[in-house]
């Protein structure tokens, strides 16, 4: 019973965190068809931005739940500084090129951002452990959970639902959906596609920095924290289907529960299980669980 509960709880917690990291990746791909390899570096920048603000002499005085607002502000500032700049100055130049070129551009960008992190924050770890204790502990049988873990689950639900509702229930969402279906027709219908791309990419960057900012209290922040996050995010979005928010949610849960099961029952296979599940899904549905078969323009 203990094991079953541990697998369920740990799987949900880890899956929620993974979804928070992966949702920006799948959104940017869905709208812009860009597999943004720099998403991991942007996640790391969000963590640094939050730590910098929370540890600053001005915001350092703030206590209690208000610290969460400071962390959110860190994510927003980082996204507003980087998102529009990267989309307008860099990515825009490559929209007419093949998707693989954009993938290579974002890979190069991830290396540049990692070096930028080192230039700004150095190579040594940064910490912001205070908020981790904000929600207390929960003791369940022999297990201890930190309340902050459940806050992350709640945050993932809010972010996921919010993004889904904006895309499916608002005028802005309808405009974005139209660009997703066909940017040329959208342009002909008077939609400012460039502005949609700018907004979608900046929001994708914000989702990355948000995930980094709220992961920061749980970890030691180093320049390479994004590497592992981006690899797992790829597994999540591939399982769920590239570009699908519902798919990312299901993919994150599948990865989270698989990993928790392996750690409890077959620890040596922790990593193997994640990619075995991914391979299995791709064998049955190559486009992912919620992905749609794409027609190729020749």
């Amino acid at each position: 019973m203990d094991i079953a509960f541990a697998i369920f709880a740990d799987g949900i917690i880890y899956g929620a965190w993974l979804f928070l990291v992966a949702i920006g990746l799948t959104l940017v791909f869905g709208v812009m068809k860009i597999l943004n390899v720099a998403h991991g570096a942007l996640y790391a920048i969000g963590a640094y931005a939050a730590a910098t603000l929370v540890n600053s002499s001005f915001f350092g005085q703030i206590e209690g739940m208000a610290v969460l607002i400071v962390m959110l502000a860190g994510a927003v500032i980082a996204a507003l500084l980087l998102g529009p700049f990267l989309e307008r100055v860099l990515l825009r130049l490559f929209y007419e090129r093949d998707e693989i070129v954009l993938l290579l551009v974002t890979f190069g960008l991830s290396l540049i951002l990692e070096d930028l992190i080192k230039l700004i924050w150095g190579v040594y770890s940064h910490y912001v452990p205070g908020p981790y204790a904000l929600f207390g502990d929960v003791e369940i049988g022999p297990l201890f959970y930190v309340g902050y873990d459940f806050f992350i689950v709640g945050l993932a639900v809010v972010v996921g639902l919010g993004t889904y509702l904006v895309l499916n229930r608002t005028n802005v969402g309808k405009v974005v959906q139209s660009v997703i279906h066909d940017d040329e027709i959208s342009r002909a219908m008077g939609i400012n596609v460039a502005r949609v791309y700018l907004g979608a990419f900046t929001f994708g960057v914000f989702l990355a920095t948000l995930a980094g900012a709220f992961t920061a209290p749980m970890i030691a922040i180093t320049p390479t924290i994004g590497v592992n996050a981006i690899i797992l995010s790829f597994a999540v979005v591939v399982i769920g289907g590239l570009g699908s928010i519902q798919g990312a949610a299901i993919g994150a849960l599948v990865v989270g529960l698989s990993r928790a099961s392996a750690i409890n029952l077959w620890p040596e296979a922790e990593l193997f299980v994640i990619y075995a599940v991914m391979s299995l899904v791709l064998l049955v549905r190559p486009e992912g669980l919620f992905g749609q078969i794409q027609q190729r323009k020749i």
Binding site: D10, I13, S125, F144, M218, T224, N228, R259
Partner: protein, 440 residues
């Protein structure tokens, strides 16, 4: 800081120091126009950069500057650089994997024409570069690389390691645990899923089994390197309730584990013992849980012996970089001092000329030298692998000095925790440490 050093270690230290002084004073000085071109390799980017690479390189640069200025205290006082030759350094990033390192090694030797190379922390990099060093006939002295396989499974002419390997680190920790936790009945392992983690757990669990056959292994966890999220693993450890948890985690993974395991009360329920957590103590400060047992892969950092050389290096590093020196800089510096000793012995034997790689390699075998982490002897691996003492202590926050101390420190002599020359580490442990000379 509470430091305790055994009489035997002190006597040994003095003997080696005197021997080294004699060697240095007698060494003739090379042509003043000659320099010694030295390649320094370590992680300047990637996950190991903050834990080891950058601090190591900082320590190396500090030592080279001090050697070139003749400012290093006894037993190295008065001799500029290597045998009077100023040292010229070329820094190289170790990131990129084994194939990249092989190419960079060739570049250093063939294009940059370095006289020798020191560094490398990754076990895979060391295993890849070693045969290339022999092929190009260029001396390389490894500063890290935990794997004992380099000299146990192979034989090289130009390859040396002037620091410990994982066996020494984990055997010392097993001795400490066996003594300090007499009531322990169960143990579990929590180590990264690659050679360092697996070798460390193997050596620790085998050694503990020899020392305390009554302790039963109840779990083995091998998280991926760089995972960062350990909630599920911590819950498994909470559920298994072992009396002892062994871990050889390092860097960001170790820091994340400490930050996540503390609030989950893991340290209240079990004794978590670390092979090398010493290097994160200064940075984590008051976030380090009280009562962690840890070493630093040698008498390094806050565990350094009370000698003029060690005290000078520890202070000089903190003055220059505003953070205490930890194991990375200590290991890197002892590698440079080992090479210095070999170069000067070779010069003593060749009449004071700049020595060839062959002469340096011959002089390095079975050499002894003094370091900030105590005496080091190239005693095993047919003279290519160093042995040195190790120290283990327990973490305690000192609010007055605003730093983490290691208290209840015990020092283990090199010959207590290392196999004799020619004996495989794993067999030595399984046979009950034959030939070990333990005085405490």
């Amino acid at each position: 800081m509470l430091r305790k050093i055994t009489g035997q270690v002190r006597v040994g230290l003095r003997a080696v120091s005197l021997a080294t002084i004699a060697c240095v004073c007698a060494a003739p000085i090379a042509n003043a126009e000659e320099t010694f071109k030295l390649g320094l390799v370590n992680f300047l980017s990637g996950p190991a950069a903050d834990a080891f690479g950058v601090p190591s390189m900082n320590g190396g640069e500090l030592m080279v500057e001090a050697l070139n200025a003749g400012e290093v205290p006894e037993p190295y006082a008065g001799m500029i650089g290597f045998g009077g030759m100023p040292i010229e350094i070329i820094k190289v990033d170790e990131t990129g994997g084994a194939q990249v390192q092989i190419q960079r090694f060739r570049d250093l030797v063939q294009r940059e024409e370095v006289d020798a190379i020191v560094g490398y922390d990754g076990s895979g990099d060391c295993l890849a570069v070693a045969p290339i060093a022999d092929e190009l006939k260029k001396v390389v002295v490894f500063s890290g690389c935990g794997t004992p396989r380099i000299f146990e499974e192979n034989s090289y002419e130009y390859v040396f390691r002037a620091g410990s390997h994982s066996t020494m680190d984990n055997v010392a920790l097993a001795h400490y645990v066996a003594r300090k936790l007499p009531d322990a009945k169960t143990v579990a392992g929590f180590n990264q899923n690659y050679s360092w983690g697996q070798d460390s757990w193997r050596d620790f669990s085998l050694a503990l089994k020899e020392l305390r056959p009554d302790i039963e292994t109840v779990g083995e966890l091998f998280p991926e390197t760089g995972a960062g999220q350990y909630g599920a693993q911590i819950n498994v450890l909470m559920r298994l309730k072992p009396d002892v948890v062994h871990s050889s985690l390092w860097g960001g993974d170790l820091e994340a584990f400490l930050l996540q395991a503390g609030p989950r009360k893991l340290f209240d329920r079990t004794n978590v013992v670390f092979t090398m957590a010493e290097h994160v103590l200064p940075r984590l400060g008051d976030k380090v849980p009280e009562g962690l047992m840890t070493g630093g892969r040698g008498a390094v950092g806050a565990l350094h012996p009370d000698t003029p050389l060690a005290n000078w290096f520890y202070s000089a590093y903190e003055d220059k970089y505003d953070i205490p020196a930890v194991q990375g800089p200590f290991r890197f510096v002892q590698t440079i001092l080992g090479l210095k000793t070999a170069v000067e012995i070779a010069m003593q034997e060749n009449g004071g000329k700049k020595p060839t790689s062959e002469e340096i390699a011959a002089a390095f075998k079975f050499a002894s030298f003094d370091t900030p982490s105590g005496p080091v002897e190239m005693a095993i691996g047919d003279g290519h692998q160093a042995i040195q003492g190790n120290a283990i202590g327990i973490s305690k926050w000192n609010a007055q000095e605003n730093r983490v101390e290691l208290v209840d420190v015990e020092y283990f002599s090199a010959k207590c925790i290392n196999p004799p020359n020619g004996v495989m580490s794993e067999e030595w442990i399984k046979e009950g440490f034959p030939g070990a000379e333990c005085d405490n």
